[in-house]
């Protein structure tokens, strides 16, 4: 197990390097002026050249990449061109806000998704299955930004139960787990949980239905095991695949959602990414993508390790 874990950690190093290179390349090959956020359209050519030199965009791409990578390895992702603020602090602040939202959405989505999926799989082809599957399909299909707006109209504008925007009365810097702040979290978290709920429900349903048809389950029943005992075996067998799907979903959620975070003005990574894209703020864009990609890499590593702990056969691969 230790060797497997060490090997998986070693694999992540070239992956991370590759990710940083792809991230740098993607940002730089996209069209547009990197100084568009601070240069007006009528700026003189001399001014453009002066600022290109000040920000280092006049250097060759390999040189820019190595300088950026060197500083990134020391935890310095540079300063945002648009705001002048350090990118590392901006991204970490956004990550913290998205974590609050993603973890809440995860709890809601995975709990409901697991429950719906399990019930649907266990009572396959019954009306319970049909109801749970319908909810799962709706969850996967409904455009979440549309759902967000509908929830705002009903619960903020009409009923006034929850605030329409923001991350708390004083902003996210004063976040606390009290009702005044958590009421800002309810609508975006529910909106964000709908897709993972649907995906987890469909996955778990398929897994449970499949496992229940396997011979070992018949064997367990033949040995006189009660439903409760059979369920424990089904859960254990479904867990590795369900965990992998949940890990990916958690990764997506941690990446934030540009649409949901914009609709609710939630200052997370999606909101930050959206602004960086629209402002062509290359350091901020690179930094945000890099941190999010690293989250994915680390999350996959954790999921792999947990999966192999649950199913030792995986270690042989």
């Amino acid at each position: 197990m230790l060797i497997f874990t060490a090997r998986r950690i070693a694999y992540t190093i070239p992956i991370m390097l590759g990710v940083s290179l792809v991230c740098f390349a993607l940002v730089h090959i996209s069209p547009g002026d990197p100084l568009v956020s601070i240069l007006p359209p009528d700026a003189s050519v001399e001014l453009q050249e002066q600022l290109m030199a000040i920000y280092g965009f006049d250097r060759s791409y390999p040189e820019q990449f190595l300088r950026w990578l060197g500083r990134a390895l020391q935890g310095d992702l540079g300063n945002s061109i648009a705001t002048g603020r350090p990118v590392t602090a901006e991204v970490m602040n956004a990550v913290g806000n998205t974590l609050i939202l993603a973890v809440t959405a995860t709890i809601i989505g995975f709990t409901l998704g697991g429950l719906f999926g399990f019930v649907a799989g266990f009572f396959r082809d019954s009306w319970i299955d049909k109801l749970a599957s319908t909810l799962a399909v709706v969850g996967v299909s409904v455009p979440h930004y549309w759902l967000g707006m509908v929830l705002v109209i009903i619960f903020s504008v009409e009923l006034g139960w929850f605030p329409a925007t923001g991350a708390g009365p004083g902003g996210s810097s004063q976040w606390a787990w009290d009702w005044e702040h958590m009421r800002h979290l309810v609508l975006p978290a529910v909106t964000m949980s709908v897709i993972p709920m649907g995906i987890v429900a469909r996955t778990v349903r398929a897994l449970v239905a499949d496992i229940l048809q396997q011979e070992f389950v018949t064997g367990l029943r033949a040995k006189g095991l009660l439903d409760r005992g059979v369920l424990a075996h089904v859960i254990k067998n479904a867990a590795p695949t369900a965990l992998a799907v949940m890990g990916l979903q958690l990764g997506y959620l941690l990446g934030g959602s540009i649409l949901i975070e914009t609709v609710f003005s939630w200052p997370g990574t999606g909101f930050l990414l959206g602004q960086a894209i629209f402002q062509r703020d290359l350091p901020l864009l690179q930094g945000t993508i890099l941190v999010l990609a690293m989250f994915f890499v680390i999350l996959n590593l954790v999921v792999d390790v947990v999966q192999s702990a649950l199913d030792p056969r995986l270690q042989r691969g």
Binding site: P40, A43, R85, E90, A164
Partner: protein, 550 residues
């Protein structure tokens, strides 16, 4: 049910307002939902276009000259700000003397004087100055393109030097906000000693300054939560009693999505939103809120190409296009939130000049002109216009362009729309009609501000501003226009300068290098609790004299 809903909403709004107001219940708070996705820069030279100047520039900082924002009916003109008077040197018209207002202090208590003006000029023009701020250069120097340096004459007199005689300088100076040198120096000195590179120390000091700004304006910065909110409190010691605020606290919240802004207003989370979703305006009004709008110094045009073989080289065709758009109908299409242009500026403006060509809707005259020019129903004129699907100041570009396309079809034009991404369109605007990016377009649709003569007219009609120097995309210009511009630039008496600009404007309208389609009216929605609102004919609005019911 309806009453109950309203009561519930009102109660929620009250609760939200009380929450936003914080612990001091007697404090009056005005919360504003901006269209910007981030708090505009707070260190003195805001970004985010004119919305930045509106919300973190004018409220916290003063400039040497100000725009008069006190009238809803009169054009907004330049008035004294931190300078009480100014004059050009009669022997050397590149040198200006500005006399400064005495007794003004920055929010940190340090005095405002000539040295502070020089320091603020150098922050964007002198890259050898220790406080040089490259990220403030872009938003500043292009708005005062001829300013070169400043020097102290005495404590309250400063000399500004321009690269060429330029009568527009006093208007340009509305855009250079005065930040406190003493406060910046204190923050610079407090930067961690481990940061040794002077440029990095300066950048760190400016970042700290943004979080703890100090200007001379009617409001003082209090709390910055990047990308979420910025709070300002009233400056009770402001030098102008007429603009000393009564509202205790102003909170700025970035809400880039129009529906989110509307929901925030309707749920009582904010008291004022910029650019409400047009479809939601009836609902906003039905809830007791007030919509304010007024034509802004803004033009939504097609800018024609005058390159070889361009169909717009024939003035009859340009006039026909201007006569063939029913702007009143377009206004209805936009829910009434559009102004009808009579030129780059409208009648009553000091630069109007009474042009010989009237921009109106006369499709018969337009068709006659087109037939004279050799076009007809069986021989329509094919033109392509490049535009964007969105963008600052573009209003509703696709809807509006499709309307213009259909209108012009009645006058023998066959219009093709080339819709591209906004930033790419912006780049093309600078590169000109002959660039590859323009893809052979005969016109480009980029809206622009008209507060300043250079931005309103000069950059579009001077042979000195052909691409890539500035935005004369279509290469329009000749000796006559260059002479008119030179005359305006060297008319240093305000009335003479305006008269020269009026002559220039009259000729611009007569030659019609644009199809003038619309003016933005800048709609904003406010809760009835906000009082003393004056929506001037300007991109800006003065928050200082407003009141807020408790």
């Amino acid at each position: 049910m309806r009453t109950s809903l309203l009561r519930t909403t009102a109660a929620a709004a009250l609760a939200a307002t009380m929450t936003l107001a914080g612990p001091a219940l007697a404090e009056t708070t005005l919360t504003i939902g901006m269209t910007a996705a981030d708090i505009p820069r707070t260190s003195g030279q805001p970004d985010q276009g004119f919305e930045g100047n509106r919300f973190t520039g004018i409220p916290m900082y003063d400039a040497l000259t100000h725009w008069d924002l006190s009238s809803e009916t009169d054009p907004s003109v330049v008035i004294p700000g931190l300078a009480t008077e100014w004059a050009v040197n009669p022997e050397d018209p590149t040198r200006w003397t500005f006399t400064l207002r005495e007794g003004v202090t920055f929010h940190d208590g340090s005095p405002f004087n000539a040295e502070a003006v020089v320091w603020n000029v150098e922050k964007v023009l002198n890259d050898a100055a220790p406080h040089f701020a490259p990220d403030q250069v872009g938003a500043t120097t292009s708005r005062m393109p001829t300013l070169r340096s400043a020097s102290v004459i005495d404590e309250y007199t400063v000399e500004l030097v321009t690269s060429q005689p330029d009568a527009f300088l006093p208007l340009n100076m509305t855009m250079l906000f005065m930040a406190s040198p003493a406060h910046w120096q204190a923050l610079y000195d407090a930067v961690d000693a481990s940061v040794t590179d002077p440029a990095e120390r300066a950048a760190a000091a400016w970042t700290a300054f943004a979080a703890d700004p100090s200007g001379t304006g009617p409001f003082m910065g209090d709390l910055l939560v990047p990308r979420e909110r910025f709070e300002m409190v009233r400056n009770p010691d402001y030098w102008d009693p007429a603009r000393t605020p009564t509202i205790d606290r102003v909170v700025l919240v970035p809400l880039p999505d129009a529906n989110a802004r509307t929901a925030a207003l309707l749920s009582g989370q904010v008291d004022w939103i910029e650019a409400p979703a047009p479809d939601a305006i009836p609902r906003i009004v039905a809830e007791g809120n007030v919509i304010y709008s007024n034509p802004q110094p803004h033009v939504w045009p097609w800018q024609f190409s005058f390159t070889e073989d361009s169909p717009w080289l024939d003035r009859r065709v340009r006039h026909a296009a201007n006569l063939c758009v029913n702007r009143e109908e377009l206004q209805v299409l936009l829910g009434g939130y559009m102004g009808i242009p009579q030129g780059t500026v409208n009648e009553g403006h000091p630069w109007w000049g009474n042009p010989g060509f009237e921009i109106t809707y006369d499709p018969d005259a337009a068709r006659a002109l087109m037939e004279e020019a050799g076009f007809g129903p069986d021989n329509p004129l094919e033109v392509t216009v490049q535009t964007s699907a969105s963008g600052s100041g573009q209003m509703q570009p696709v809807t509006m362009n499709e309307y213009v396309q259909q209108s012009l079809a009645d006058c023998f034009f066959d219009v093709t729309l080339d819709v591209i991404e906004w930033n790419t369109l912006f780049t093309n605007w600078r590169q000109g009609a002959l660039s590859d990016g323009s893809r052979g377009a005969d016109a480009i649709n980029v809206s622009f501000a008209t507060m300043d003569p250079f931005f309103a007219m000069v950059r579009f009609v001077s042979t000195q501003t052909f691409p890539p120097v500035s935005n004369n995309w279509g290469y329009f210009g000749n000796d006559e226009f260059d002479a008119l511009i030179a005359e305006a630039r060297t008319s240093f008496d305000g009335a003479e300068r305006d008269a020269a600009l009026a002559r220039l404007h009259a000729r611009v309208v007569e030659e019609a290098p644009f199809l003038w389609v619309a003016n933005d009216v800048g709609p904003r929605a406010m809760s009835p609790a906000v009082g003393g609102v004056v929506q001037p004919k300007s991109w800006f609005i003065d928050i200082a004299p407003m009141t807020m019911a408790e």
